[in-house]
Amino acid sequence: MKDVLPAIEQWRARGERVAFATVVKTLGSAPRGVGAKMAVSSSGAMIGSVSGGCIEGAVFDACQEAIKTGKAQLLHFGVADDDAWDVGLACGGIIDVFVEPLDW
């Protein structure tokens, strides 16, 4: 959290809206552990990471959606093919990411 706070503060000072993504669960080999965070602003700025780069694109889109809808959701990333996002983790791990607007 500390790594993304300064950027979030800058965005909020500019009147932008913000969404967060947090790794809440990992199985097998995952590049970043539970608690790893990424934050996105309504103008499309991004800070932090939730993986080694394999799922950031999809998570970025989900954050933008959370800013628009105001709704939080739990995303599940596993080995590609059958997950709706069609994003696979090269490392073969499983990562659950919680995406939420910063409205609390």
């Binding site: 500390k2 809440v24 539970v34 608690g35 739990l74 919680f98 609390w104």
Partner: protein, 244 residues
């Protein structure tokens, strides 16, 4: 509007322990949040006072263990999954010996989220010019500074390899709850150190927890490389590993 976020930010800035619990799945209101602080009133709600109390108990226990994760609770309507994220205060590295190695070591430790305290009785070493980047620079003997300050979130690094400074510091650090105690010095220096400490009555189980010679074997040459080898061993200790 964003009272939980603002409070979380203030706790992090003041380095006070705090935990945030969020409903992420199940029958509850997804995204509902509760902020937990030891000895303070709860902020926010997960929508059910019994659930709030159960989560508060778990969050406080997890905070002590510096652990975050999902916990499952059964409420009237079914099961609810709560992600409990804890923010324990940052670990502190106490560096005894304001030597050259300590300068890059403070930089690495700060990058990795440690508070850094540099202690040296020798005024020529403990200068603000050399350690402007340290959180605290204390010009004193280590056995004057360390007593009462070491917790299970403390990491003690001795860099003087001068018995006058190292030995008194070790006699405070080894019996303390400090998570890691390491001392610089060649195997020969360390053997002599062990002899002295044994003669002074330091128990074997305390000597056994001393990391010496300090650092991982990575062929370090320069002060900067030695600092890398030390910080790597400290990171391993933080995760309950030896790095060997």
């Amino acid at each position: 509007m964003t009272i939980l976020y603002t409070t979380l930010k203030a706790c992090l800035a003041a380095e006070q322990p705090v935990a945030v619990a969020t409903i992420i799945d199940g029958t509850g209101q997804i995204g509902a949040k509760l902020l937990v602080r030891p000895g303070e009133a709860l902020l926010g709600t997960l929508g059910d006072s019994i659930l709030n109390e159960a989560v508060e108990r778990d969050a406080l226990a997890m905070l002590l263990r510096a652990e975050s994760g999902i916990r499952s609770y059964t409420v009237a309507d079914g099961d609810v999954q709560v992600f409990i994220e804890t923010y324990p205060p940052p670990p502190t590295m106490f560096i005894v010996g304001a030597v050259h190695i300590a300068i890059p070591l403070v930089t690495f430790a700060k990058t990795l989220g440690f508070r850094t305290v540099v202690i040296d009785a020798r005024g020529a070493f403990a200068t603000p010019e050399r350690f402007a980047h340290a959180d605290e620079l204390i010009h004193a003997w280590p056995d004057e500074v360390l007593p009462g300050r070491l917790t299970s979130n403390s990491f003690v690094v001795l860099l003087t390899h001068d018995p006058k400074l190292d030995d008194p510091a070790l006699k405070v650090a080894l019996p303390s709850p400090a998570r890691y105690v390491g001392a610089l010095g060649s195997p020969k220096t360390h053997a002599r150190r062990l002899e002295r400490l044994r003669a002074d009555g330091v128990p074997e189980e305390q000597l056994a927890r001393l990391h010496a010679p300090i650092g991982l074997k990575i062929g370090s040459d320069s002060p900067e490389e030695i600092a890398v080898s030390i910080i790597a061993e400290v990171v391993a200790a933080r995760h309950g590993l030896t790095g060997r």
